[in-house]
Amino acid sequence: MPVDAVPMPAPDAAVRVLPDGSSTSHTSHTPHTSHTSPRRRRSPAADFVAAALFLIFLFQVVPCLGGIALSFFRYDGINPAQWVGADNYRRMAADPTVGASLSATLKYAVTAVPLSLVAGLLIALVLDEKWFRGKTLARTIFFMPNVISLVAVAFVWEWLLNPKFGIINTLLKGVGVQGPAWLSDPHTALLCIVLVQVWHGLGFSVIVYLAGLQGIPEVYYEAARIDGASRWQQVKAVTLPLLMPTIMFLSIMGFIGAFQVFQTVFMMTGGGPADSTRLIVFYLWQVAFDRVELGYASAIAVLIFAAVMALTLIQWRFFRDRVEALT
């Protein structure tokens, strides 16, 4: 019991003799102490959380709200902001580049996210096998790209993909195949961005999958084995359903990340060739800093937020039943 708890009143002081001779004790609603009011004790955890919440509010929530507000203004950072109402949104609806960039981003997302989900799962399944030796080393190797700066990664991959002396085309040439100009060909440039991003983020998926796999009770696999299920049937009937929360998490995070891709595009292609890799965040950056139209860029940011929210809700609905079926 805490040392500063309100002391109970002395028993005799709390007993009251009723007219019929019975007695009753009552708990006084005022403590029988010489102190005037109870000291309320605040948990120190609240202080720590409050500080963090304050910083999050100041550096994330306030700028977000500021960005939304700015989307209703015309502002170039030099002259005072001018209220224009929904004009930026009207403009966005008529801007062909917004549509093209969104389309490129969706193309990127529906390629990169499933690829990352499937590749990450396959690797995690192999690493989780009992016969696999060197799990720790393998996990480290797969996760290493994830800790490297995307700028450095893009730099290295530009060299690998170089059409003249990059290692990929050199290997292809060795088997008699003329490799394309990967980053200079509108048909392959977006694929290269997908490849680099998936390669960079694969380790994260693998680690999360492994955590999910280790949370699946062994008893289900034993039961499946007793029933004569093959390894593939065990994966289909036991692993995949029970991994659904993990898949849901990775899918939602994957799509959110897909709508934020910028560094690889900036470093490797500059949005080209022929706008084939001009993803929506890159276009936002161009509008904000090349064309100095911060209000319009904020409107595009709100559009991205809405798109990501919509995709998240769609996925939530898709996965919800499957996840709830597990409980």
Partner: protein, 445 residues
């Protein structure tokens, strides 16, 4: 609550202490700030030469130096925060629209005042992008020019005379084909005849040589949708056998077309004058020369220019003017050229001086050019182009970024996807007009 109040009070006290310290550091002098971008080794010129000399000549002024990365975005954000540097190095590339939006102070009253400058000493084309509404918003520092780099060994092997200012489009194409053909280039395999990027700035010189222009006289209506544009696009396309090369000379991975030229794998390269010291430094076995771009209807190249602008927010305009004037003085520009030689000085008096031909370099980072013969083959083309007015900045204006965005797409669509040039240019024109219409609303009245 007490902790929060204590934190806020501490922050206020710290800010006050910082302000006092800043004032004390200035030592009673007027403190002004200047900003530049560039390679870190360039900072030494400002920190060890320019600023100490300026402060010695102006003991009442103290200069704080800032080297900023992501320069255009940074100065914009500083401006939005009300703390833009007093004197800013700017490039017409991004500077023209900032001028139009009111970022810079008009300098006419200083230029034409008792402490003014001789405007006639500056190369005329460098003033083009600095004027808006009849006022001037910067002092030119340098001018860079696109040129034709050629590999002397490959030209010797293919028995082709070196390019010079008499070359036309025909000579360029013939040479490119000959250099790439093992049967005619002395048996060399895998050689590329000509390297260039495929952005609109790679095409614009050809367009200007065909007699075209990008803007109307007010620089607000695009004028690039015409037969000259189609002709020059088709010519550029005819020069290209394939597009195995990287996108542009400014490829961030360090794998622009110049890399192949530097490694002796290409006979010719079209790039800017800034490429010369880098090729000299990194192409150890490369013997190369530089010539003006071949002509069509006329000889023409494109340029951009760096200049010194003064922030419209400055609280010390007179002191800022002194610094800007100092940084663009004849002596400062000669020193800049002699050390870095990435772009020739914007003053005639610097360009025509004997010091212009003495490139001292900056140690390991920027090689010297002591041999007069080597100077002639790499740099003599510059005065020739400028004296004959064979370069232009006509494309520079407040809406250059809008134009470039759409023209980049059109050019690469034609070159890479075999799009019809007429359709591509019409689409680019329509979308540029749309973007300009929207951008104009954000400009200062």
């Amino acid at each position: 609550m007490r902790a929060l109040a204590a934190t806020i009070i501490a922050l206020v006290l710290l800010s006050g202490a910082n302000a006092l310290w800043q004032r004390q550091r200035a030592g009673g002098r007027v403190e002004i700030e200047m900003s530049v971008w560039g390679m870190p080794f360039e900072n030494a010129l400002y920190l060890k030469e320019y600023i100490p000399e300026f402060e010695r000549q102006n003991p009442g002024i103290k200069v704080r130096f800032h080297h900023l990365d992501n320069y255009a975005s940074r100065i914009l954000m500083l401006r939005a925060g009300g703390i833009a540097p007093d004197v800013m190095r700017q490039n017409v590339d991004f500077g023209a629209q900032l001028i139009r939006r009111g970022m810079n102070l008009p300098l006419d009253r200083f230029m034409d005042g008792p402490d003014g400058i001789d405007r006639g000493d500056f190369i005329p084309v460098t003033w083009e992008a600095l004027r808006s509404g009849g006022k001037t918003y910067g002092i030119p520092q340098d001018i860079n020019i696109r040129a034709l780099f050629y590999n002397k060994d490959l030209f010797d092997s293919a028995k082709i005379p070196y390019p010079d200012e008499r070359w036309t489009w025909k000579e360029l194409k013939d040479a490119a084909e000959r250099l790439a053909d093992p049967a005619r280039n002395g048996g060399k395999q895998g050689i590329v005849g000509l390297l260039a990027g495929f952005h609109c700035f790679d095409w614009l010189p050809f367009y200007y040589e065909a007699g075209g222009r990008v803007w109307d006289s007010g620089k607000s209506i695009p004028a690039f949708n015409n037969e000259k544009a189609v002709e020059s696009l088709l010519y550029l396309k005819s020069l290209s056998k394939d597009f195995l090369m990287s996108q542009s000379s400014s490829e961030r991975g360090g794998l622009g077309p110049y890399t192949f030229f530097q490694n002796g794998q290409a006979g010719m390269l079209i790039d800017g004058s800034w490429r010369t010291p880098q090729l000299k430094k990194d192409g150890k076995r490369l013997r190369f020369g530089v010539a003006p771009l071949p002509r069509d209807q006329k000889a023409m190249s494109i340029s951009t220019s760096c200049y010194w602008g003064i922030s419209a927010q400055t609280r010390h305009p007179a002191e800022a003017w002194k610094l800007a004037k100092f940084l663009s003085s004849r002596e400062a520009l000669i020193r800049y050229w002699q050390t870095l030689w990435v772009a020739p000085p914007a003053r005639w008096s610097s360009l025509r001086s004997s010091e212009f031909q003495h490139i001292t370099g900056a140690g390991r980072d920027s090689p010297a050019l002591p041999d007069p013969a080597e100077f002639r083959e790499k740099c003599a083309w510059i005065p020739s182009v400028l004296e004959h007015d064979w370069t232009t900045m006509e494309f520079v204006g407040p809406f250059t970024n809008q134009m470039r965005d759409k023209l980049d797409y059109a050019v690469s669509d034609v070159l890479l996807r075999n799009a019809d040039p007429h359709a591509a240019l019409t689409k680019a024109e329509r979308e540029t007009i749309q973007q300009i219409h929207e951008a104009e609303k954000t400009f200062a009245r």
